[in-house]
Amino acid sequence: MTDLTPMTALGAQAPAQLRAGALTITENMGLALASLSLRDAPAPIPFGLTLPGPGAWVGGGGVAAFWSGPGQWMIESEGRAESGFAAALAAEAPGCAITEQTDGWTAFEIDGPPEAIRALLEKLVNIDAAGFAPGQATRTGLHHMGTFLIRRAEDRLAVIGMRSLAAALWHALTETAKRQGETA
């Protein structure tokens, strides 16, 4: 069988990481994603997770879920990108429409002090940066790209964007962080 070499969304062998000013931006290669749509099924409790309401994100037990639209969620799991996560989720959510999403997206995790994350949000997206508290997640436009933002903690923000635009998203995030670092 052909011996294929895996590579990241940015075309490298290892996940990208950049430190700029107070922020560290890291490509998250291991994040498994699958969407869950209710259709006519009652709301499931996949992996013991109560699905959150509009604009919210909840995590626990190695999986997390955020609301992506009425009757629709994205379920994520750390370190399970190569594990067939969608099939595992389908077994937990009978009657729901489950779609594998891992390969369609690329995730960047941004760590840093809350004020630096807030400054980055203010520069990049038209959402209420001050009100974007831990446990919130939303989809919005970032440099004309549709992206999901998740505030995992006070000092951690995840940006999930289209995989084919990974380089453009990486450029937008890193250039903004670098300039922020120069002026801080």
Partner: protein, 91 residues
């Protein structure tokens, strides 16, 4: 311009795309050719309060019925188009 999304709160109008008059929710039976031609081609162009369809394209992808004053651009309210339709139409 900010649109008060019924689920997500105030959101920037740049995240939305505009379709037009919310009367489009009330689609007549295509068998009635005259009524259907009016539905497809005729639009009111009011100066004042207007109910219109907006799509949250860069957000949660829901359709909203936004009530807007076309003279002042003041937004008077927004509801999910789904709820409007289930209540019996745009009227």
């Amino acid at each position: 311009m900010l649109i008060p999304h019924p689920l997500l709160g105030l959101r920037d109008a740049q995240e939305f795309t505009y379709l037009g008059d919310a009367a489009l929710l009330d689609r007549p039976d295509p068998a009635d050719a005259d009524a259907f031609a009016d539905y497809v081609y005729l639009r009111d162009n009011p100066a004042g309060v207007h109910r219109e369809l907006w799509f949250h394209e860069q957000g949660d992808r829901s359709w909203l019925v936004v009530t807007r004053d076309t003279v002042t651009h003041e937004i008077l309210g927004a509801e999910l188009a789904r709820d409007v339709k289930l209540k019996g139409g745009a009227a």
